[in-house]
């Protein structure tokens, strides 16, 4: 039962709560969320207020009397009412009436003369407020549109990613190839060096054997030349030389 009381009190509390929402022009103290569905965004303000005739009597009164009494009904009612009040002196004509007449005439003159100017000024103030708010809104929309375009550009860039990766793959393949070839060259050079060493070793060995053998042969030959053979070879050489000199002199 207490919960039911609370439930009954809730909408009334909500209605009396009615926090004012000051958003520039929209100054509403309407109760919010009294039903389940909520209007967000708020509906725009009506353009013009209720029609009022002569600044005092709402138009609905004239429409209310129109079916029964036509157009002049309310005016007749007004005239009759005024005459009744005056004749029965329910409305007493005294100094205050004169004061009221002067004040009313001045007010009406002022309204007639400056009404449109004041209305234009108020409209200009409203326009400025609305322009500020919509400028903020337009700036926000433009920023979001720029963000959308940049996002689309990024998406377009993503499509080029495949080319980027192809180029990178090519680069890496070239690096691997270069590395491989360098290593091949190193291997070749190393093997060549080792083979050259072996060849040089063999050459050196053969040369050393040759030299050694030549030396040994020469040594033995020189040893075997006895002094007697030396003399004989020298005498033979001298005879040969003389023969040659003779043939040379004959030739000259």
């Amino acid at each position: 039962m207490l919960s039911r009381l609370v439930l009954r009190a809730a909408p009334a509390a909500l209605r009396s709560l009615a926090p004012p929402v000051a958003v520039g022009v929209l100054h509403t103290t309407r109760p919010l969320h009294t039903t389940q569905q909520c209007l967000a965004p708020l509906p725009p303000l009506p353009e013009k207020g209720g029609e009022v005739r002569y600044g005092l009597i709402p138009e609905e009164f004239f429409q209310f009397l129109y079916p029964k009494t036509g157009v002049t009904g309310p005016y007749m009612l007004g005239t009759g009412l005024v005459l009744y009040l005056l004749s029965k002196e329910i409305y007493v004509v005294n100094h205050e009436t004169v004061a009221a007449a002067c004040i009313l005439s001045i007010i009406i003159y002022g309204v007639k003369k400056y009404g449109s100017a004041v209305a234009a000024f108020a409209d200009k103030l409203n326009e400025e407020k609305i322009a500020e708010a919509s400028a903020v809104k337009d700036a926000a929309i433009k920023d979001l549109e720029t963000a959308i375009e940049q996002e689309k550009k990024e998406q377009w860039r993503v499509e080029g990613r495949s080319y980027l990766f192809d180029a990178k793959r090519n680069n890496i393949a070239m690096l691997l190839e270069t590395n491989y070839r360098e290593r091949l060259l190193t291997v070749y050079n190393e093997v060549k060096k080792r083979l050259d060493y072996q060849v040089a070793m063999q050459n050196l060995k053969r040369q050393k054997e040759q030299d050694h053998m030549i030396q040994w042969v020469e040594k033995n030959v020189v040893q075997s030349i006895t002094p007697q053979q030396q003399k004989e070879s020298i005498a033979k050489c001298i005879l040969d030389l003389k023969a040659l000199s003779k043939s040379a002199q004959a030739a000259v």
């Binding site: 009190a9 009334a12 209605r15 009396s16 022009v25 100054h27 509403t28 103290t29 309407r30 109760p31 303000l45 009506p46 353009e47 013009k48 207020g49 209720g50 029609e51 009022v52 600044g55 005092l56 709402p58 004749s87 029965k88 002196e89 329910i90 409305y91 007493v92 004509v93 005294n94 309204v111 009404g115 209305a119 409209d123 409203n126």
Partner: protein
């Protein structure tokens, strides 16, 4: 249901249905105020009628409240 839709004979029944607790009266005043406010003042191009009706009502109410003093200014005693 609204007062303008009530037939004359059903008026006492309708009055009995109304909520006369202080909260109810306050709610009714608040609703009346909101109706007037949203119809004549909370609009984009409000006119003079919005406040002039309130001032006229104030003038009438203050005349009614001071009628007992103004009675003595009458020009004739018997009407």
């Amino acid at each position: 249901m609204k007062l303008l839709d009530v037939k004359l004979g059903q008026l006492p029944t309708w009055l009995a249905m109304r909520d006369f607790t202080p909260g109810g009266i306050a709610g009714a005043l608040r609703r009346g105020y909101e109706r007037y406010y949203n119809k004549y003042i909370n609009v984009k191009k409000g006119g003079l009628g919005g406040i002039s009706m309130v001032l006229a009502g104030y003038v009438v109410v203050s005349y009614i409240w001071s009628y007992s003093h103004l009675k003595h200014d009458r020009h004739r005693k018997y009407h």
